[in-house]
């Protein structure tokens, strides 16, 4: 996935920062889908598609896992101390902070999460 993203963004003229940010956010999103989206242990398809329009890259990720809207997650509060810091839950927070725009829909039993920057 990282290799495909790197290649695609480079071919469309994206910067190293674009590559790093999309690589990171795609990894976070797909990790969540694989970890929490499926009750069975069967094979599933996760479809990624990246487009460039008006100098903005948009990556959409489609999966047939349990309904999950990352945008409904309560906003993560930065910890004030090491003792207080929660382990985990950081992935979605990173996506929402790094990407300029995110959009979620549930269509025909599929989650479609789109993120743009």
């Amino acid at each position: 996935m990282s290799a495909w993203l790197t290649q695609s963004i480079k071919a469309m003229g994206g910067s190293d920062e674009h590559i790093f940010n999309f690589d990171l956010c795609a990894n976070e999103a797909v990790t969540n889908i694989i970890s929490y989206g499926y009750a069975d242990h069967g094979e599933h398809e996760i479809i990624l598609d990246i487009v460039l329009a008006d100098n903005i890259f948009c990556l959409s990720i489609e999966d047939d896992g349990a309904p999950f809207n990352p945008l409904e997650k309560p906003e993560h509060v930065s910890p004030r101390s090491l003792e207080e810091a929660q382990i985990g839950g950081l992935g979605v927070d990173l996506i929402l902070k790094i990407m300029k725009k995110c959009h979620y829909t549930r269509v025909n039993g599929k989650n479609i999460f789109k993120m743009c920057a």
């Binding site: 790093f20 976070e28 930065s78 090491l82 992935g91 990173l94």
Partner: protein
């Protein structure tokens, strides 16, 4: 990923991480990392300069170890993360609870304080 350690003055342990800190990378080093930061050691400088990428799994690995060290009253400091990695640490607010230094002398002073 790879992980190595070296002993510095004053019982300070320097841990050198290298490679992508993603799910796969972290799975290769997490056990060693926990062993290296275990008791009775209390002073750690974690060299991040050879880590080109970090996802939330990487942050998690740093937090787990930093928390364990903090619980024993120890010090845990990050040295020299690449700009991209530093941005991830700052975006998640981790830089507010785990100190980041850009040079070894500064890190040595902080960890000995």
């Amino acid at each position: 990923m790879n992980i190595t350690e070296e002993q510095l003055i004053n019982d300070i342990t320097k841990i050198n991480l290298s490679g992508r800190m993603d799910i796969e990378g972290v799975s290769h080093i997490e056990i060693k990392f926990a062993e290296m930061t275990s008791s009775p050691r209390v002073a750690f400088i974690v060299d991040m300069s050879a880590v080109p990428y970090m996802s939330s799994i990487g942050i998690r690995a740093l937090l787990i170890n930093a928390k364990a060290v903090g619980k024993r009253g120890g010090k845990f400091i990050l040295l020299n993360p690449e700009q991209n990695v530093k941005n991830v640490l700052e975006t998640s607010g981790i830089d507010q609870i785990i100190p980041i230094c850009s040079d070894l002398n500064e890190a040595l002073a902080k960890v000995s304080a």
